[in-house]
């Protein structure tokens, strides 16, 4: 309900502060979604900034009711990534992986290294996965959306999402074992 109220304020009064709250709520998720598709931190940042501006423009120009901001912002993100690939060849980032995350617990170096190694492995495995599987896995296990929410975001049926999740995990297992 609070999200609907924020959308109402954005549409009715072009309330920038209300949109700022939506930004705070979604920025991490949208950044991760984009990052997993482009793999380059700087590009992910640029695209994510653009996504929020596009969504603002859409909300304030469309005559349609915004039923689901969640689904809208992911849709804008997906299309922005398509534009990115259309306009530019991919340059693989040589950034140090440590720059991609922030780990708060600086005391426990060993635990931190374990996490980084695990994360690095799974990140590589994910990059070999088909995009359609990667999207649903990301939304389910990292962003912890329900099947119904994922169906809304991806525009697929709930049954389809379940099938894709099952196959995605199977594929991930096969890649990790092979």
């Amino acid at each position: 309900m609070q999200e609907k109220f924020l959308i109402y304020k954005v549409r009715q009064n072009k309330d920038a502060e209300a949109y700022g709250k939506l930004y705070d709520c979604y920025i991490d998720r949208i950044y991760r979604f984009v990052y997993f598709k482009v793999s380059v931190r700087e590009d992910a940042e640029d695209i994510t900034s653009e996504v929020f501006l596009k969504a603002w423009e859409y909300i304030n120009t469309t005559t349609r009711k915004i039923e689901n901001f969640n689904a809208l912002i992911y849709r804008v993100a997906r299309n922005s990534v398509i534009d990115y690939y259309r306009n530019k060849r991919i340059n693989v980032s040589t950034d140090d992986e440590d720059n991609m995350i922030q780990i708060q617990d600086k005391e426990n170096i060993v635990a931190k290294m374990d996490v980084v190694i695990d994360r690095g492995n799974i990140e590589k495995l994910l990059s070999h996965l088909k995009e359609v599987y990667r999207d649903v896995i990301l939304l389910k296990y990292i962003e912890e959306y329900s099947i119904s929410e994922i169906a809304d975001i991806t525009g697929k049926s709930k049954a389809n999402v379940r099938v894709l999740l099952h196959r995605g995990i199977q594929a991930l297992k096969e890649i990790s074992e092979g």
């Binding site: 009064n13 603002w56 849709r75 259309r86 996490v115 359609v132």
Partner: protein, 376 residues
Amino acid sequence: MDNIVEQLKTLKEIKPRAEWVNSSRELLLSQISAQAENSKTLVGANVWFFFKSAMPSGVLRFVAQPIGVLSVILLFIAGTGILGVNASKTSLPGDLLYPVKLTSEKVSLSLIINDSKKAEKHLEYAEERVKEMEAVSAQPLETQDKKDKIKQAVSGLMDQMEGAQNQLDKVKDANELGQTENKVIVEVALGVDKKAEELSQKIAIQKEEYKEDKELETAFGAAQASTNQTGVKAVEVVINGVENSKLEMPTKEIMNVIQKKIENTAVTVEEMKKSIEQAGAVENQVDVILEMKDRPTTATSTLSEAQEFLNQGDLTGAIERIKTTVGITNEVKDTVSHVEATIVSPAPVVNSTVVVPEPAAVDVKVNTDVIIKPTN
């Protein structure tokens, strides 16, 4: 499995840099604040707008439908009367009486309580939209006005298909139905599938006729995809109804229906392959198309699984695989039309101008400009 899920959860630690989050927020707010308007609106408009925004659409319909019905009844009495509605039945998009025709359809739909019958009614009106497309299409001159009328009919058709699909979902999710009730639902759903099949063929003819016009071809393609999806949902309802209440339906008939679905979906997969190849031939689109290169193989293998399930008599397994395949083809269609639209119609805008070619837009595309266009 648990290990993989645990590892996946560690990816939640990937976060944007805090300083970037803050600077990006500041930049965004400064950009959008410039557009902020302090114009005061009427209190009544505010209340209604908030009501519309905040209430679930079901509640809104509950309030709005009686208002709509009452308005139409008053309109009948004060205005054109029953004769006017009858006269509107043959009207076409753009005609004076066309809105009356659409409103009377909405009223008829709101008076039907049974969900499966409502789906059937949506198909009846969808057929009406197809007839309108054919009638407008047969008009001699190729003008922008004619094109707009066709697009209006296509948009109306998509609305009816969406309505039918929502009703079929409700029917599928309904619990504890008696055997007699299930039998009626199954028969109605079979009828819906048959009608969807007929309409899909008619739309395909229109699509072929307008293949030179990319915009109309894409619109017809989306309408056909939506119609096919309605057919698949109807068959799902049939299978659900038969299996839930152990109806003694002629299995061979249902298997034939599913076999037909597999064959039709195979045609769609072939079309998908061609569209990927065509889109891939366009300069600078290679990266986008590369992402989709494995979709035809996935779709073909999923459809083969559907055939295997059907051969083994597993109807649910078969329809689930068909649905997955249809989902893949629709996703590709969506992406290809997005790519093509950005090439065929470059944004006729400069700097911060906002262009809204289609009011019923659901997709967003902005570089320094904003372009909003429809997708499926």
